[in-house]
């Protein structure tokens, strides 16, 4: 899918459930694929007894990757110019996450139309776990 400048407007939204009952196995899968084996994410006894957390939690970058999936499914492949986030709350096994993008601005950059998109990913309790922005190239 590719977005055309003429087909989008400020305020347009796209949302997707990007994790449904997040599993510890998916967190481990992400550890293996990314190379980040931090035991805070992969090792329950360590996370609980050494680090003092209720248990393991997801890598921030897993949540950013899940958020990116909503984004690329919306704006198309190879169209991102910028993608940046803050990690605002931890993501736990069992969480269900919804990523939402909202077009804040349609602008032109180097003669190319772009959409500036506000991002928020929330858990089932309505807490934001990731907030951010992205800029994507649009078709003229």
């Amino acid at each position: 899918m590719m977005l055309k400048a003429a087909d989008v407007a400020v305020g347009d939204q796209h949302a997707a459930v990007v994790a449904n009952d997040l599993s510890r196995t998916q967190i481990v899968q992400y550890a293996g694929a990314s190379g980040d084996y931090n035991p805070l994410h992969t090792d329950e006894p360590f996370a609980r007894e050494v680090a003092g957390y209720p248990g393991v939690f997801a890598h921030g970058m897993l949540t950013m990757g899940l958020t990116g999936r909503m984004l690329t499914d919306w704006v198309g492949d190879g169209r991102l110019l910028e993608f940046g986030v803050r990690f605002t709350a931890q993501v736990w096994p069992g969480d269900t996450l919804t990523a939402t993008g909202t077009i804040r601005e349609i602008a032109e950059r180097d003669g190319v139309p772009v959409a500036v998109i506000d991002l928020v990913t929330t858990n089932a309790r309505g807490e934001a776990v990731v907030t951010g922005t992205a800029t994507a190239r649009l078709d003229a």
């Binding site: 694929a33 035991p39 990757g65 899940l66 999936r69 910028e82 993608f83 940046g84």
Partner: protein
């Protein structure tokens, strides 16, 4: 995160896309990808984080012959300076990362700042990583912010 050589391999891109639950064929199906707008297999937008696999000194991976700090027979121990968290991550894309690219990753420190909250002092450290292709052209610029919580000093200081 520094790596002299970070080959973007089809198998790692496939595994990474699976880990983020992304079934987009542009990350795994060469025929589909070749016929698509990007004209070939590409990597998901956060994939460059996997350059950790090619960083010989990356600390968050067990290494042969070296003790690992996570649990085994015991619960493990927190290493000095351990327990930091990822506060922010920003990517600027100069072009898509393609399967077959051989990138280099070079990291330099950015700003450092602090915030004091009720639970203690938070120290933020920024690092900037440039990913360049074999011709030396910039492909992705990544800015990462880590945060470390430090307990408030005893007494008034």
């Amino acid at each position: 995160m520094s790596a002299e050589r970070f080959p973007v391999e089809a198998g790692n891109v496939l595994a990474f896309a699976r880990a983020i639950g992304d079934d987009n064929p542009v990350y795994r199906d060469p025929e589909y990808a070749a016929a698509s707008e990007v004209a070939g297999l590409i990597a998901p937008p956060t994939f460059t984080i996997a350059s950790a696999q090619w960083d010989p000194d990356y600390p968050l991976r067990p290494k042969p012959g070296q003790p690992w700090y996570g649990s085994g027979a015991s619960t493990g121990t927190m290493p000095a300076g351990g327990g930091g968290l990822h506060a922010e991550q920003h990517f600027t894309y100069h072009r898509p990362v393609r399967v077959g690219d051989v990138l280099s990753a070079s990291t330099r420190p950015g700003s450092t700042w602090e915030k004091t909250g009720r639970s203690g002092r938070l120290v933020f450290n920024e690092r900037i990583t440039e990913f360049r292709d074999a011709s030396g052209d910039l492909v992705v610029t990544a800015r990462s912010v880590g945060v470390q919580r430090q307990p408030l000093a005893e007494g008034n200081s």
